[in-house]
Symmetry: none
Subunit: 227 residues, 2 copies
Amino acid sequence: MTKILIAEDDDHTRDALREVLTMEGYEVIPASDGLQAVDFFRAESPDFVCLDVMMPGLNGYEVCKQIRRQDEKVPILFLTAKAEEIDTVLGLELGADDYMTKPFGVKEIIARIRAILRRTASRGGGRADDDFTMDDLRIVPTELRAYRDKIELALSPRDVKVLRLLYERRGKVIDRNTLADEVWGVDYFPESRALDQHISQLRKRIEKDPAQPRIIRTVHGAGYRFE
Amino acid sequence: MTKILIAEDDDHTRDALREVLTMEGYEVIPASDGLQAVDFFRAESPDFVCLDVMMPGLNGYEVCKQIRRQDEKVPILFLTAKAEEIDTVLGLELGADDYMTKPFGVKEIIARIRAILRRTASRGGGRADDDFTMDDLRIVPTELRAYRDKIELALSPRDVKVLRLLYERRGKVIDRNTLADEVWGVDYFPESRALDQHISQLRKRIEKDPAQPRIIRTVHGAGYRFE
DNA sequence: AGCAGATTGTAAGGAAGTTGTAAGGCGACT
DNA sequence: AGTCGCCTTACAACTTCCTTACAATCTGCT
């Protein structure tokens, strides 16, 4: 579930946001001042942050800086009252994704959060989308395809993740746990054979001779390796 | 130095854009309403124009017309809060180069401006409302129509947006999130099937054999593609 | 070398998830 | 009220992924 950290000193606003976002299916972590917000961010690693600009102790900009020091990418939405307009600029410089001026409608804020999450999920989520080459195979992530000579091979998003991981750490052994974590995420059951199955299927498609793999080699008892 | 005219009535957004574009090395001319924008355009002859659609006095469309009366070529980027407002931009023959729906990230808008400037500098062309061809279909955005041989097909503004997006990134997979963002904007519910429905209906009209689509191909688990 | 146990490969079938699309409904515009 | 376009809903079709089961391979031990 998507975790949203809300830093807002006004109890009313905070509660209202908590209520409404919980209804939308988000997990909400409410913080009532800047210091708490920074603490909670560290502790909970939320997927999204709503920051009030004016807060006792650490203000929103300071909190933003602290958060950015830890996490370059997490989407941040600033909430500001009319009187604070001037510093919007600062917020955007600090890497905020959007800002909203109070008073704002419930629908509006939900729509914005959703839009930002959608955007960062598709654009930022996939790291570098640069092409790379493994053996005689040119992998083009943005096309979800690989090319051998002029022959096209279709790849799933998961295939690309596996290949990119192996490529990025070429020469090193990627153990099964790491692979499972990076590619499948938290809900991977170690006793499942899904990983083996996937490697097998992938080899069938990308290796000239799947019995003698040149791209994804297995290191028995350890994991897989490229090169 | 490249001069950019920004016409935007919201002080937040205008200031933020001014700041950020100045940092990028552009010379920024801010205007807070339509009349001012037209005046400043005459006085300063900027190399690029960002136009908010909704402005007091003269709205973005009107400003655009005035500017085009003077200068056919200057690149114009429309900014709007509502995805539907872009329909008008596409429908009128305004000669817009691109459009963005709010909320947008700072990085995003810089990227677009740079892209447009690069495009127009090398005369590669490609305005948002320029005609383009997909397979045997000629799409004419300003008429909201497509032609196959001499047969006319009606298109909605939304159809045009979908097709244009696929056309611009041909070969690449456009994931559903991006499509939703660019075409529907903020108020798209991810759990809705509106997107699928729209693709299905669109295929029925533009594909010779909707069961074997040649223009809008689906990439299972990822999105759609044209090539 | 030969064997036992552990690890990995892979085919087959079914579960789960994704996409296609017909039908009905709601609201905007006339 | 009627029409039109778009959205939601519901279900069908399809694709992918996972589980299972068994075969093949490897490791370490005797």
